[in-house]
């Protein structure tokens, strides 16, 4: 499995997609800064800017959409371009292939969130300053937890999308479908309490940015873990039964 995972990272760092997407995330954060700067009543600093960047541009809409692009490449394109079959011909098991790809997707999501976290702190500090000095460390920890709490729902969304990608033979169709689902879930998750039970709920938990409690985080985490476990298993079942005809 580690061999497949290593290959996924080699492909990632050798392609242009990762660098372009990372750049777009950073640009979106810079735009958020400009918007914050133009609002004189916002009292922005590096600490509260992160929350604004996370739920303003990063999660709505960029990172989930970019994850759809990554999933379309790792699953749909790998199958439809005929490259997946050559990996399977080397004797690696289908379960190894699918789990390595899922771990890769999860790590990709973590990397994206790290880019959001680090770049928003750097851009926020340069633009707005560090804020109240005594509170900096506490706020930094709080923001790191907030960022981490979004990662599992993002992975849950990605695993569900990976399941869909296994049925698609056209990466364009997969990207369209994935982005459509992302937009629909943004609306669905606005309905009161529904976000606790959907695979994407925790990604859009803007309303909880100010009231970040153990209860909220635990609910999002449990729901995300259930979706991750269920859909990883479904991915494996589908992959085992799939005829690799392309």
């Amino acid at each position: 499995m580690l061999k497949v995972l290593k290959n996924e990272f080699i492909k990632m760092f050798n392609g242009k997609k990762f660098y372009i997407l990372a750049l777009l995330v950073i640009i979106s954060i810079v735009i958020e800064t400009i918007m914050g700067k133009s609002d004189v009543q916002s009292h922005m600093n590096a600490q509260n800017f992160f929350t604004s960047a996370l739920f303003g541009m990063a999660m709505k809409p960029f990172v989930p959409m970019f994850m759809v692009l990554v999933i379309a490449e790792a699953f749909t394109e790998d199958y439809s371009q005929g490259t997946m079959k050559f990996s399977l011909m080397t004797g690696i098991k289908r379960s190894e292939l699918i789990f390595a790809k899922l771990i890769f997707i999860a790590l990709y999501a973590v990397i994206f969130m790290l880019i959001v976290f680090v770049s928003s702190y750097i851009v926020g500090t340069i633009t707005f300053g560090t804020g109240i000095k005594g509170e900096f460390f506490n706020n930094f920890i709080y923001n790191a937890k907030l960022c981490a709490s979004v990662i599992l729902p993002l992975i849950s969304f990605s695993v569900v999308m990976s399941f869909v990608a296994l049925f698609m033979n056209n990466s364009g169709a997969m990207i369209g479908f994935g982005i459509g689902i992302d937009l629909i879930m943004m609306m669905v998750d606005r309905i009161k309490n529904v976000m606790y039970f959907t695979f994407s709920g925790g990604m859009y938990s803007t309303g909880f940015a100010g009231e970040f409690t153990t209860h909220n985080v635990l609910m999002f985490t449990i729901t995300a873990c259930i979706y991750i476990a269920t859909f990883s298993l479904l991915d494996l079942i589908v992959m085992r039964k799939k005829d690799i005809v392309l």
Partner: protein, 307 residues
Amino acid sequence: MENKCLLKTEKLTKEYRGRKVVDNLNITVHEGDIYGFLGPNGAGKSTTIKSMLGLIKLAQGRVVINGYEISKEREKALEKIGAMVEAPSFYTGMSGYKNLCLYANLYGLPKKRVDEVLQMVGMIDAKNKTVSKYSLGMKQRLGIARAFINNPSIVILDEPTNGLDPQGMKEIRKLIQDLSEKYGVTFIISSHILTEIQAVCNRIGIIGNGQLKVEGYVEQLLNTDEEIIEITTKEKEKTVRLLNSLNIQLKYEQFEGGIKVRTKKGNFQSINKTLVNSDVNMVNISSKENSLEDYFLNMTEGDRKYA
């Protein structure tokens, strides 16, 4: 004495939506063979190859490679097999070298092996070019290099000359012959280009409608004692009458421009003499050996029905 059996399929059957695309297929490939796998479009060649490689699930039957059954001991069965199935697909944004490194990594092989196989197929100078800049012929060569990366004892090439120009075809044919001679590898080659197969393969299997029509050594199947005489003439009836009056064994069939005669070698002169002496108005008369194309068309006649 026949060589050791390296690959065999037993009662291989695959169904798609209730339709049998491969039906009770039994083929045997011996060590050192260059086995030509022939069949018209949709006959089930690619499905058979994918079944051999464990890429598609069988409805019935089994595939045994190097003594290991693919459905039970997949890893061991695939250990010494290399393949290029359908189009030579690669990660086009990466170089040929990096693409092969991915497969070397999956096999747990050192990068030195990548250089070796690139050298084997004459692609070492283009190894750092991105695959998107490769010509189709270069991609085919890279596909063959990938098939050789794990030091296989059997290499399966599905339509290796597909889409290539005559020069490219000749180069790939030469490459296969060289690799077979140099490394003693057993090849299974599926192709539509029958002249290519006849030039390269020593054994063939012909498949039609998912069923094996015939399997055997090319020399035996083509029965080299026979020759085909093509007579181009408008006087078909007179020619047939004269042919029937000859005291030799022959079979004939009419075609648009004349008559095609199948007979034992050595009868050409007497047929020619008889027709000339009887003033048959001939445009042309020529003799050729029984070709794989004639044999193939004869075997698969009636299979060319498209759904």
